[in-house]
Amino acid sequence: MPRSRRSSTSRRRACATRSAGSRARPRNRRGNPVSGAFESAFSAAALRRGAPWLRGTGPDSDVVVSSRVRLARNLAGLPFVRKAGREQRDRILSLVRERAMSAGVARCAATGGGGQTERMLWLDIHRCPALERTLLVERHLISKEHAKQGGGGATAATPGQPAPKEAAEAATEAAAASASAGGEPRAVAITLPDEQLSIMVNEEDHLRIQVLRSGMDLDSALDLTDSVDDALEGAGEPAHGADGPGLEYAYSARFGYLTACPTNVGTGLRVSVMLHLPALKLTGEMEKVKRATRDLSLAVRGYYGEGSDAAGDFYQISNQTTLGRTERAILDQFEHQIIPQVIQYERHARRVLVERRRRVIEDQVLRALGVLRHARLLTPEEALTLLSQVRLGIYTGLISNVPAQTVSQLMLLTQPAHLQRLLDREMDQNERREARADLVRQHLAGE
């Protein structure tokens, strides 16, 4: 297969790479190092614009907050991450980096529909300070495991599991605890400024390719994930751009794409949606939904992922079966048969609530707005729960003077790392509660 190297200028334009430690970093007020690339990508001004996948736009966005498609891949001839030594993990990192930061992949992400990719950012997670890592978790660009683990494999237990109430705050502390250790080589590549695509390297599998979209938008997310997967493999060259060797995936004719956990084997595909289901919760129908979705082999999780409670009545629903069906069949059933029913069910419950218990619901959502407008101290969980109520109020027409986008933005900005990044200083839990309440008041005042 003929391969020609792209000019170095075109590569530089397409990719903004960074290896921490290779250049002097600016420091924030408490002396924590912040990388230059990170600084510009996730500046306070950039954060204020919110996360593209949390804009509250897209189809069915009254119920579907966001859609996500993820592919798990491993490289042939190397042990899976948990069994790989440091050198092997370094090798995985450099192989993926060479390819993920190639002009071919960047071009694929830029033309792959939906987003506005201008460049790709590569972050060596094991060298990132705690705040950067937690911020990436809060923006759903990397998993909590990817941020926390000191030694690789995603099985690492989390000692002193936090009470759900303080989950987000404790995650910050935990990330801080393991940040200085450096840890095993792991990284993430992110498209900017749209943040639609992120490729985690050395998480549970060598690669986790994920695309996040606002609202119900799984079809185009799968198309992009699929074409990025091809581009990483160097397929279709020279049409996709030939630079650097393509990746060779671990694959068997019988089991398909081989993954560290057999629950991902086959397609390696996980499709999920984050749903806002406050009316089903209020009417006591949520248990039925959970039971029904589980019978259909779907997993139901809370806002903070596995093991977390459904804070603010946000639920992630995803497929469990990855073997024996095609990617399109998995997605079609999920997107066109199952999720629309849940959406209809929630909408119906909202209508019934407003028709039959209008005063009660009105009281509840307006009280939530009142607390948010006047509170002096707020925990992240409380903020999320109240914002969820306000969101319900907006989509049922009971609150008309607060834009849905403000609520979406606050869901993100009130989280610990975002707060600290916005104010450019580290804060303890109590300081954050104060700052959180101040921020919410600023955003909701005079609406």
Partner: protein, 194 residues
Amino acid sequence: MKCDKCASEATVHEVRIQGGKKVERHLCEKCAREEGFAVQSHVTVPELLGQLIAEQAAAAKSEIGVPTAPIDPTKIQCPTCGTTYGQFRHSGLLGCAVCYEAFEAPLSPLLQRAQEGGTHHTGKVPKRLGGQRAAPPAPAKAPAAASGLEERLRRLETLKKQLNAAVAAEQYEQAASLRDQIRRIESPAQESKG
């Protein structure tokens, strides 16, 4: 809705087509279990593994006429990375690609349960291996051209719908990208020349 067999609330609902007619059944959890319906919540991998290994051990014990001693599946070891099946059972994670072959015997029934009966991959195939859909069931090495074609046609249809919507919404950048995707599918050879 009440259970068909007792007065409890029905939680399991079944619709069957018998002789062209729709037959509905509504059962409570207890009656459903008696009728042989599996009513179980999500089971984790370690739990599944635990059950399976126990079942296999019981089966091995009761087997008559096998000259060799029953093999303890937890002792099976991957020749490449050294992971034992017991370790996998404990962590839920395999060590390398070869583990799938090394543990195929104990892993297959587990996979079948965890994957809702799925035993063979029928999805995407890496481009270096031809990139066509795998044939169901997979052992046949020749890719199923028909299923690959069907998939392509289906994707084309979806893309064309999206293209019309994008044009109608005057989102020309997205339309251009969709048009390129359609071209790639319709004539991959031509695209690679350009």
